[in-house]
Point group: C2
Chain length 160, copies 2
């Protein structure tokens, strides 16, 4: 891989990280995630990440803590060394969106309670109940959508 290839990859990493950051993800977590995505084995060591992204070990540590907490990355101890490897889960999107589902459940619950408070005889209550309905609907759809994606993957014999 030439010098300029590396630069092109780095540009991609930064660009994709920027998109994720804009969507609300922590900056360092997004950069680490993107670097892992673009790495040959979907895995890098702390030192590799620090070097590639030009950040301190502390920043890597913080980003990894976040990414493991939300279940996007796993830690693996390299056997025979004292080095740790961070690995992208290989059904990343499936898992990430499944988790998002739990957020929708919480939203729905809050909205349902709000609708009760406002009362079914008020426009506000009806509107809030309908919003709760929408999120319930979303949860359902999400589940079947992910099933369809998984099927499609299996048909093609690939990972996700």
């Amino acid at each position: 891989m030439t010098r300029s290839d590396e630069e092109a990859v780095s540009r991609f990493v930064e660009r994709f990280a920027a998109e994720m950051t804009e969507a609300g993800m922590q900056r360092m977590a997004a950069r680490v995630f993107a670097a892992l995505l673009a790495s040959e084995n979907a895995s890098l060591t702390s030192a590799e990440l620090a070097e590639q992204l030009v950040i301190s070990p502390a920043a890597v540590s913080g980003a990894i803590r976040y990414l493991t907490q939300v279940g996007m990355v796993a830690r693996e101890r390299e056997p025979g060394t004292r080095r740790e490897r961070y690995v992208l889960h290989n059904e990343i999107w499936y898992e990430t969106f499944t988790r998002r589902d739990q957020i929708l459940t919480r939203w729905e619950k809050v909205l349902r309670e709000g609708a009760d408070t406002l009362g079914p005889d008020t426009a506000a209550g009806a509107r809030t109940a309908e919003t709760a309905d929408f999120f319930a609907f979303l949860q359902d759809e999400m589940t079947s959508m992910l099933d369809r994606w998984r099927e499609r993957k299996e048909a093609r014999g690939a990972q996700s």
Copy 2:
């Protein structure tokens, strides 16, 4: 509506706003949005918002600027007064998720370019291309999902 009802509504507004904030929305925008959702006509004036949320007119102005920019709220001049009303769009979720679709398109494009840079013969390239596929798939599913929601609404003769 009694004093304690008002308090209960306010608690709901704050709770739902907190959920949205956690998901990445600006705090004031989330609070204003939640207040509008819980208001009888899905609309409030600047003064009403400022009073209810105990914030300055400047904060209301900023939140409304954001909400109108992302298309979640419309401004309406009350005829016969110099007061402005801010109104929730009534197909809010439909519209909001349609907009989100455009973000997915951008992500897909960045990922597609990344896959090209990495090359189709590398694991990283294949993985990135598959991620792009996932987002393309999502866009598709999103569209048909929203169609189904709209149908369902129409069947019940309600708004969203």
